[in-house]
């Protein structure tokens, strides 16, 4: 299981003055769903293009399935399915003809390809429009046909570049469920790039956060929040009867062991602490004579991580 299928080491891509990818090192294990997360222009697509050998790295190396993508892209592309963002099909051909074309390019025998195309169309829920021209397809349908197109070559790895962009929420959910299901059933390795945090959170085993060409953090989501908020892994929100700021309560909260910061914001006390001391806080509030109306231990989600990094906002 713990077989390294994608290995990027010290990968750099420079355009004239801009460094799109900056000394990126990353390993992805076989069978995992990895989310590449970052704002637009962070270098996600460039990294993906380098993995497929569609653009050459300035320095560093890419190994996919143990093959160097820069020097031997054909072998890599045989094993990797790539769904570009905003995928296009030949508009004057039907969905099934488009799939058959891809299958032929992969030298899959005609009868096998046809059976598989029909099966895949069924799977992505397009079997009733298989004979229709793909020019008439909506964005969501194109994206699902794109997934079928990626799967027809029976890949070991699939790389999806912003796969959920421009699909309605229901479509997104179905699409992501399909990906999660496929990765489990087929033991597929999935690399998914996105700037939609919730979606990534939904399906990915691990995420990597990518900002201006650098991978600043990686791991599963609990690990990530620990990594990023190591000083204050716990944030406790407290509201009392009075909405006035009380210096006495503030200082007695600050004096508690393992409390790092206390802030008063919009009638709430925000207490950042290094261990979980919720019961102590509750006691302190009650002892100071206030009625406790609200006590909430905050969990860090990707949203907070996102804000922390991309917008520089302090939580």
């Amino acid at each position: 299981m713990s077989q390294e299928i994608i290995q990027l080491s010290d990968l750099t891509k420079r355009y004239d003055s801009l460094t799109a990818v900056d000394h990126l090192s990353l390993t992805i294990q076989k069978g995992e769903v990895f989310g590449l997360l970052g704002p637009n222009g962070a270098g996600k697509s460039t990294t993906i293009l380098m993995m497929l050998g569609l653009t050459e790295p300035t320095s560093g190396s890419v190994q996919v399935c143990g093959i160097n993508s820069t020097t031997n892209p054909i072998e890599v592309k045989r094993r990797v399915g790539y769904l570009p963002d905003d995928v296009g099909f030949y508009d004057n051909r039907s969905a099934i003809e488009n799939l058959m074309f891809t299958a032929r390019l992969n030298s899959i025998p005609e009868n096998v390809a046809r059976a598989r195309a029909v099966e895949l169309l069924e799977r992505v829920g397009l079997s009733d429009v298989g004979a229709k021209k793909s020019g008439k397809f909506s964005r969501g349908m194109r994206q699902r046909l794109g997934l079928a197109d990626v799967l027809i070559k029976d890949p070991e790895v699939i790389i999806l570049d912003e796969p959920t962009l421009g699909i309605d929420p229901k479509g997104v959910r179905e699409f992501l469920e399909l990906i999660a299901q496929l990765s489990k059933e087929e033991q597929l390795t999935v690399l998914l790039s996105s700037h939609h945090l919730h979606q990534v959170q939904q399906v990915c085993d691990r995420v990597g956060i990518f900002v201006s060409g650098k991978l600043i953090a990686q791991g599963d989501i609990p690990t990530l929040s620990k990594q990023l908020f190591s000083a204050e892994p716990f944030m406790i929100q407290v509201a009392v009867e009075s909405t006035e700021r009380d210096e006495r309560l503030l200082s007695s909260l600050e004096n508690l062991a393992s409390v790092n910061t206390v802030k008063f914001l919009n009638g709430e006390y925000l207490i950042g602490c290094s261990t979980d001391i919720t019961p102590h806080i509750a006691r302190v509030v009650i002892e100071s004579g206030y009625g406790l109306t609200h006590l909430h231990k905050k969990e860090y989600g990707l949203d907070d991580i996102y804000n922390r990094y991309f917008e520089g906002a302090v939580i």
Partner: protein, 326 residues
Amino acid sequence: MINNLVHRERGVMHPFWVIVGKEISDQVRSWRFIILLFLILLTCFGSLYTSITNMGNPAKAPKPDDAFFFLRLFTDTDGSLPPFHVFIGFLGPLLGIGLGFDAINSEQNGGTLSRILSQPIHRDYLINAKFASSLIVISTLFFAMGFLTMGLGLYLIGIPPSPEEFLRIIFFLLLSVLYVAFWLNLSIFFSIRFKQAATSALTSIAVWLFFTVFYQLIVNLIARAIAPSQMASPDQLLAYQQFVINLMRIVPSQLFADGTTTLLMPSVRSLGPMTMEQVYGAVPKPLHLGQSLLIVWPQLTGLVAATVICFALSYYSFMRKEIRSR
């Protein structure tokens, strides 16, 4: 899917020919091809008609080309319409541009380019296949048209072509295909350079117009500016003529025109100026095919070179291009 049945069996079509097949069927089904085909067929029959009506005219003085009666199908005219080969010289570029101007940028704009190139194929398959498929379409079209014209001519005038005439026509058709291939490559190059299909079409047409209309004007201007005085020696005059002609020959259409005239009019013995000494003693007899081919050999080489340069340029810029989605 899941059944790991991806045998790389023998007898499966090579990916390159898969793309060629798809491109040909795309070309043939497209409206613009049908329109161009219609246009070319129309001119073809039009010029055939004028040449045939003109042939029946007995009042004409005998010409050295009379032995090649059949070739006159392609060169004769009564003046109302230009002859066949001039038409091809005029419409051929349009056909080439029409087939190539959106070769790569339409794939890019349709979002299919990155999808195709993420399949296990070499990158140059796509551009080679684009070129090969258009070339196959053009050759088929031209040869079909040439044979059709010959057949109709045979039926109407009742004189079969001699083997030499037949070979001359074959060479003429090959030259036409080569000429169109040049314009095809030029427009493919522009389709790689420019993102919008309209821009690349306009640029190709601009180049074509420049070469067919404005270049002659410019050469005339230069010729007038550097014209030697009346006192100039014959050597100087000859050098001057040669220079002006060479300037004209930079243009592919001039090369094509030179080539076709020599091939279809066997009495043409030189494409440059000839001195009296050279003409003196020459037997006024049409040249053999081999001799005509010798005369047009430089033109042929020039056209091939121009085509290869265009292809090399497009190949180079395509291989270096970064493939992004839309």
